[in-house]
Subunit: 454 residues, 2 copies
């Protein structure tokens, strides 16, 4: 245990730095040796010699991939020069955490459109970070068309997914402009046609020497799209359900990251997972409790403002987005009777608070696995960080690795437990039908209601 | 050109065999040399020496991957022993093509359920073929949990996608059984939970020595799922729209494959694409024309039967699937006035015929790119076929490579050009609302209809 503590001090306590380099702790190395010798004893495993080519391949990689440099602004560097390294990193990380939190608050103040644009920008940046690792891994500077192709696929998939959202929420508005109508009606067809162009382009760009690299990058691009684009599409959907469904989960992940780091920094002793040697059980548990508490408090505050709890709908009357509403059941205090020490008591709680517990549990138990996954990925390709945009933190992807999994969870959670089919959405669909079909629904509904009421 | 002919004879005229081995035609080799020397002259390209590790890696692969053996049943082999190789392959391929076509007809006769089960089986087999190439490529016999993990992901994604279909089409029926109700209500949540288990399992199974292989296989699995599972989900949706939307496109691809092979076999001269040296322009164009003609004729025949044109719906009255209906506009002959040589004429045509032209054009122009993609993939990993299940054809995936792209096209085509929101589906959604919400819709609809009619 003392060993681990010392190691942490040497490395500056950076909880996220997944690459330990050669100075790995003896206990871990031993466990790995045991593991590999167990594997070696099985019949199937390839001998060390046989595995050589890829081993060499991966080793060579790490030389060519630019390692995330922990670049620090000069002014900070000179101000902190007297601090020990461990604390220096702590301060830098802290400062930039606060800068990011303030930035986030500003964007929230900017409203839903600002949040959606930010989501799009973050998505593009994450894609760029993942893809450039792919470029480096397969060293494909000379590969025909590859840069253009992956950006083209990013474009088409965004066209499809963002378009789906736009059609869903603004279909009525867009339909009113005659020459945009076909964009709504044929949205899927147009997206598929765009994708097919990319697909044909890819096949035509295949060059014998590079087949394997090209297919690997094709897969790499598509997995990145799966992670980045589809999930940012879900994030946008969450925003439409009401800002609270976006702000609370994102803040929970941030809180969990920060608090796990703090608990780990001050109390960390027991290593949690081999994959990320800097993560400790103390950080994991402390961060979890802090996140649940924070979630309760933060949700309680946000529940009071229509700005956060109202779904975002296009208002025909205002001719613009509307964020005012009669708060739904979830955001109206309800009375719950409790029995504490034999004495009956009634408390008044926003039902959303109960849901916030589910969200914070997910963000502190499953959420970190998004981070472990990213750590493993970074170690697989021997890189330290995805980029070097944020001093003390690494690239954008390093900060958002857990956000994506969380966004999907929130989306699924809403669609399973919260969202009920809304009468107004159904009405829009009915109005799109022919008059005789509307009449058909009308009579069937009349009959059904009559049966219900008698 | 004579060179190409000779080459084809040597190789037995197998149009699909993507692996030419060393005996590549001089013209192609020269073009490739030009290509690579152009690349070499750029600053970015890695020198031959630098690329060594992966080159060796890929070369080593081809030794370890089992090559599709063109195994032929003995009885056929001895019956055909006097034929030249080129014709022998022709006959074997022909026989098994007919066997497969008859099998397909039998399954159609078995009805929609048989077709859906077949789709599922084909999907599983394709997944297995793609995944086992991945196993061989990364030689991961000793990798912890990997086989289980990829099958687990196949299971969860099928649970999600097939479930979505079941909920869509049988939701009402399933909802009637009390203890199955939660499966419908929480379908997405359950699927996501299952996926999360797999994700956590993957992260926990990471072992230092194998990081890169494990992440590569994770990507490999997910790309296979993207290709195989999502598209077979679309196929099932197409079947529900009416058997004709499944049978016509599938037959078109088969027809295009067969006719391109035949035209290429007898008239093939001009090579089409470097990727598949056996494909010729003659085959491509001849196959295209044959497919359009076949599509017209075949659609015309199927349009006459309710069995093929009726959407498959669950009938409350029968308590089972129903395939009878009043054929929709598409499948009722319409009069079109034509002017031929100045003389006005009226012809009666099923509107579906026009759509069949769009389908056959796609299947003969873009469809083959699915095949080229598969060819390129096979060449990238130096395998001849995906498997050896069907003598003369290779694996299941070799036969279905173009079907997947086509299925997506048909699905998108239906949703963009054919499907209109159906009153009965909307009614089901309305009946799921609370009575007061139904009443709300009722009054709004009443007002709207009143406005429309006055």
């Amino acid at each position: 245990m003392a060993e681990i503590r010392r190691r942490k001090q040497e490395a500056g306590g950076d909880e996220d730095a997944a690459c330990m380099g050669p100075s790995i702790s003896p206990s871990i190395t031993e466990a790995e040796k045991r593991n590999s010798s167990a594997a070696d004893s099985s019949d199937h495993i390839d001998s060390e010699e046989e595995r050589l080519p890829e081993e060499k391949f991966v080793d060579d990689l790490s030389k060519s991939i630019p390692q995330g440099t922990d670049k620090t602004p000069e002014i900070l560097d000179s101000a902190l020069k007297d601090l020990p390294d461990r604390w220096k990193n702590w301060v830098i990380r802290g400062i930039f955490t606060w800068i990011m939190i303030c930035g986030f608050a500003l964007i929230i103040y900017g409203g839903p459109l600002a949040l959606m644009v930010t989501t799009l920008l973050v998505q593009v940046k994450c894609f760029q970070e993942i893809i450039s690792i792919g470029y480096q891994v397969y060293r494909i500077h000379g590969l025909p068309w590859f840069r253009s192709l992956s950006w083209y696929f990013l474009l088409t998939s965004n066209y499809f997914f963002y378009g789906e959202n736009l059609v869903d929420y603004f279909g009525v508005v867009i339909n009113r402009v005659e020459y945009l109508k076909f964009l709504v009606t044929y949205h899927r067809f147009l997206s598929f046609a765009l994708y097919c162009i990319g697909f044909v382009w890819f096949v035509l760009s295949l060059v014998k020497k590079y087949y394997m690299k090209q297919f690997s990058l094709f897969a790499w691009t598509h997995v990145s799209l799966l992670i980045v684009v589809t999930q940012s599409y879900l994030i946008i959907q969450n925003i439409f359900e009401g800002l609270i469904w976006f702000i609370v989960p994102v803040s929970m992940i941030i809180c969990n990251d920060v608090m796990a780091y703090m608990f780990g920094f001050f109390f960390g002793k027991t290593p949690l997972i081999k994959l990320s040697p800097k993560k400790t059980w103390e950080g994991f548990i402390g961060g979890g409790f802090a996140t649940v508490l924070f979630g309760l408090l933060f949700s309680y505050i946000l529940c009071h403002y229509q700005y956060f709890v109202c779904p975002i709908v296009y208002s025909e009357e205002l001719g613009s987005m509307s964020m005012t509403c009669q708060p739904s059941y979830l955001f109206t205090p309800q009375d719950y009777s409790l029995k504490v020490l034999g004495i009956g008591k009634t408390i008044s709680v926003f039902p959303f608070i109960w849901h916030s517990i589910a969200l914070s549990l997910f963000s502190s138990i499953i959420g970190p696995f998004g981070g472990f996954f990213a750590s493993g990925f970074k170690r697989a390709f021997k890189i330290k960080d995805f980029g070097d945009m944020i001093p003390g933190h690494g690239g954008i992807m390093d900060r958002f690795d857990c956000q994506f999994l969380m966004a999907t969870f929130v989306n699924v959670y809403i669609s399973s437990f919260i969202r009920t089919p809304s009468p107004s959405k159904l009405l829009t669909q009915i109005y799109n039908l022919k008059p005789e079909q509307q009449l058909q629904i009308y009579s069937a509904l009349k009959e059904n209601l009559f049966d219900l009421l008698t």
